[in-house]
Symmetry: C2
């Protein structure tokens, strides 16, 4: 059932709860097939692997010393102590970066440095600190060493055939390090999400222009573009489109054909709201998924799909647009990018104490912007940033936000809240 089939007793379309709207959206996106591509390791930072990676080799490929000292047969040192030392003959040197030649035989040892390969016959490394040189060819050993001590076994870091990296997890620097160590020079990753952005409204001009009287600069495009870029998406800006249905439809149609996600914002007038709805319906199946959510700010969002492209009609007010991005567009882009758990909270959170009472209407999710004031030995104080949803400065001043959920009619001063950080 589509959420917009829900009508109340007066025949008005009712608002979809946020959680339900997100489920409808992600269920629709999960049903689509994602493209993959091969990516050189040197460009794979933050990309999402499309398959599990098994280690193709043992790492390390040979046992290696983790200490400076002497490669020994452990049994030769058993019982050695300061009062009862044993003596070993230095029979060779392990050259760095080369396979050692020769074999360590009973009563003998090879000099070895950290990272050197263990020579045949040896099974432990005696630390330099536990030896006393007798002469050029002989050491006194004042401590025993166990088999396997002070070395890394073949495959100890990771064994051939075992799971190195799981699919669907963003590649971090240390993951690239592991792939480099295994010699994996290409990774199969999901294609980057492509996002088309347009602003609508006859009153909007590009931010680089000087607006004539009555017009205002476009704020949403650059803000939404930055949010998409931070998620690793490739953004195309389709500019500012007038309120005429023909030009608006043509641009959205083109953007839908060229992208995985289309964001249009603005059009807060009644006529424009209807226009957004009509354009999504005209683009074909599956059409509108959600129209209006029980959310403040952000209520008038429209979510639809045309083939496999998700289309979002975002409110024109910058704060409302960004809130809708956080709650719906962000998980959608992460889902399309191949992240395993796109619905999982992305932003880090901190606990804080609310500095005043905040009222809310029951049945609606409220998102409240806050500034945080650090305090010694106490949780930070969260001070709501008040202001209209058209005020971009309130978002820029905010350090984060918290939610008042649908069941609540408000939160009292001094309550502990969980603040999602806008870093």
């Amino acid at each position: 059932m589509k959420s917009n089939d829900l009508k109340d007793m007066l025949g008005r379309t009712s608002l979809t709860p946020v959680k339900q709207a997100k489920h409808i959206l992600l269920d629709a996106l999960r049903a689509t097939v994602r493209k993959t591509e091969s990516c050189p390791l040197s460009e794979a930072l933050d990309r999402i692997p499309a398959s599990d990676t098994l280690a193709p080799v043992d790492l390390p490929a040979h046992p290696r010393s983790t200490m400076d000292g002497f490669a020994v047969r452990a049994a030769d040192t058993f019982g050695a102590s300061s009062s009862m030392p044993c003596y070993l003959e230095i029979d060779g040197d392990v050259a760095m970066g080369q396979m050692p030649e020769g074999t360590v035989t009973q009563g003998k040892c090879f000099r070895i440095a950290t990272g050197g390969l263990l020579p045949a016959g040896s099974d432990a490394v005696m630390m330099f600190e536990h030896t006393i040189p007798v002469d050029e060819k002989m050491i006194e050993v004042v401590k025993s060493v166990g088999v396997g001590k002070n070395l890394t076994q073949r495959g100890e870091d990771i064994a051939q055939g075992s799971l190195a990296l799981a699919k669907g997890q963003q590649l971090r620097p240390q993951d690239l390090g592991l792939l480099a160590g295994l010699g994996i020079a290409e990774v199969e990753v999901y294609a980057k999400a492509r996002v088309g952005i347009l602003s609508t409204g006859d009153e909007i001009v590009h931010w680089a222009e000087s607006p004539p009287p009555g017009k205002i600069r476009d704020i949403n495009s650059i803000c939404l573009s930055g949010l998409c870029t931070r998620l690793g998406a490739e953004v195309t800006d389709y500019g500012i489109v007038s309120d005429s249905e023909a030009s608006f439809f043509a641009t959205v149609e083109q953007a839908a054909a060229e992208n995985d996600v289309v964001l249009f914002s603005g059009g807060s007038s009644v006529g424009m709201r209807d226009l957004g709805e009509r354009v999504i319906e005209k683009l074909g199946q599956p059409g509108i998924l959600v129209h209006g959510v029980a959310l403040k700010p952000g209520k008038p969002i429209i979510i639809g799909m045309s083939n496999t492209t998700a289309i979002f009609g975002l409110p024109g007010h910058p704060v409302s647009a960004m809130v809708c991005f956080e709650l719906f567009v962000d998980p959608a882009i992460r889902c399309i990018s191949g992240i395993s758990h796109p619905e999982k909270e992305l932003r880090p959170t901190v606990n804080a104490i609310l500095d005043r009472n905040i009222n809310s209407a029951a049945g609606r999710l409220d998102l409240i912007r806050v500034q945080l004031q650090e305090r010694d030995n106490e949780l930070p104080l969260a001070v709501p940033v008040l202001g209209k949803s058209g005020s971009i400065s309130t978002l820029s001043r905010a350090h984060g936000y918290f939610f008042i959920d649908e069941a609540s009619q408000g939160i009292n001063s001094n309550s502990q809240i969980k603040v999602h950080l806008l870093s």
Copy 2:
């Protein structure tokens, strides 16, 4: 006083505490002058402004309606109710994106949509929902409205001359939105930090090569490069340098001349450690700042400066190298990038419960890698990822890390710990 002047009673150089080493490093860096450059707003995401930004204009420039309805003189509606409505004549329309013509006079009103500019004479907007159309030219008003209601005042979002953005704070998408709204098309930002990276060691080959017996693939370069890239730095890879003093010195000297930061890693052998120290000393003043810190893993780090370039000799083991990056290179790069509080914890943290006892030596900061296991209605369980500091897979498996501080000899099972997330 340089930390390496500290010697113990036996004349050995003692280890510098982590906190002190960081202070020495950041004090030296803060004394250097940072370059700035002009950046177009469209490329300014995540850059660091080099000066405070004051609003050059009022935003919005004119009072605007926040509702669909009628621009009115509030006094005309006083006392209006369902039982005692008042009547207003519709005397004009506010066209979207244009300066309204005409003046609202007593007993009259103009049609206006959300975002429309308030016409002269009006001082409030009557919501559409509180009116009943009488005919084409007349509405019945069933509720009074106060002066200034349902509109945004000139400069209400941000007033001309007030602080829009502070210097030294990374530009977030919403900050770009604010600058766009103010028509600021260029931002003065700090130049990106330039980082030169090289690996040393005769046993190291590039990760894309197939290592001959005895050699291993370079893991640190790609891992360190990814960490720098995520901090917004520009990375130059100087490749793998042999252990010979001449070629090593020549490469480090070139990298120091071309970058703000030089990272070399590897050279875990005794000879190589001395070489790193000699090379930094040879590069001139101020020379070595810190040699060896009370840290595990990461103890053998060397921190120096040549003119204004910070030079880090990192341990060869990947885990040790990354730990040293976290604690020293990361704040250094953020300081050079112009961030106001580079020493502030960058990574988000979560509280967790440790699943076993972990021992530590007093007088040393220990960094313990952990995996987190989510649990219902409880803090997540932190399971230490055990393994040698040469094991890159332990870093890749880790979700984060926690510290055992210098005063502690260990942490007991079931203790609550603060885990820094490696996302």
